[in-house]
Symmetry: C2
Subunit: 114 residues, 2 copies
């Protein structure tokens, strides 16, 4: 094998009692719900089943004291979902975190010299 080029990568997430409640994927889901106003559309965009998306949203709502998404069924368009103010804060804070992580990864790539 010719000398490969190594990359440093990483992830951060938020957990409570060892249970992951917010990470990269869930935040993307929130953003897409925010943009589309629909859990279904967000799920389609991320190529996951509606059920899986709904379960994730439901789980987040359960874990946070204040829900991150509210939704209603029926009505114009069949129903809708909106990211709450709290949800927006969650997204923003996670973004700040990810930005920091990227800096960290860039800063520490030099540590590996394999």
């Amino acid at each position: 094998m010719s000398k490969p080029v190594f990359k440093l990568n990483g992830r951060v997430w938020i957990e409570t009692n060892n249970e992951k409640i917010l990470g990269h994927g869930r935040v993307e889901l929130l953003e897409r719900i925010q943009a589309s106003g629909s859990i279904r559309q967000a799920a389609l965009q991320m190529k996951m089943s509606y059920k899986q998306a709904w379960d994730l949203v439901n789980h987040m709502n359960d874990m946070f004291e204040t829900p991150v998404v509210t939704s209603q069924r029926g009505g114009k368009g069949g129903g809708s979902a909106v990211v709450t103010g709290h949800g927006v804060k969650v997204i923003e804070q996670f973004h700040a975190l990810q930005k920091k992580l990227q800096e960290f990864l860039d800063d520490n790539l030099h540590l590996i010299q394999l």
Copy 2:
């Protein structure tokens, strides 16, 4: 639900062409091989099957230009495995990385105020 306590957690790993080749679990495996001189014992300690451990070792050896573990079968004790000098370097560098990551997590916990 009563107000939960949130923790910030994370992982880093080394990859090449989007394929993970070294992370937290594999490094622990290397360390246990180093300590026990046996892939089997390391696997038992980590409660994984011998096959899985062997596959991981094999994969690492394939990805690095120099193997991280060498092994021989037969002989006293039935066989043995040793972590190479290169493997030791890999372990050390990853440890340095993990230490930095922990500092990062500690330093940035304040960013989340959910």
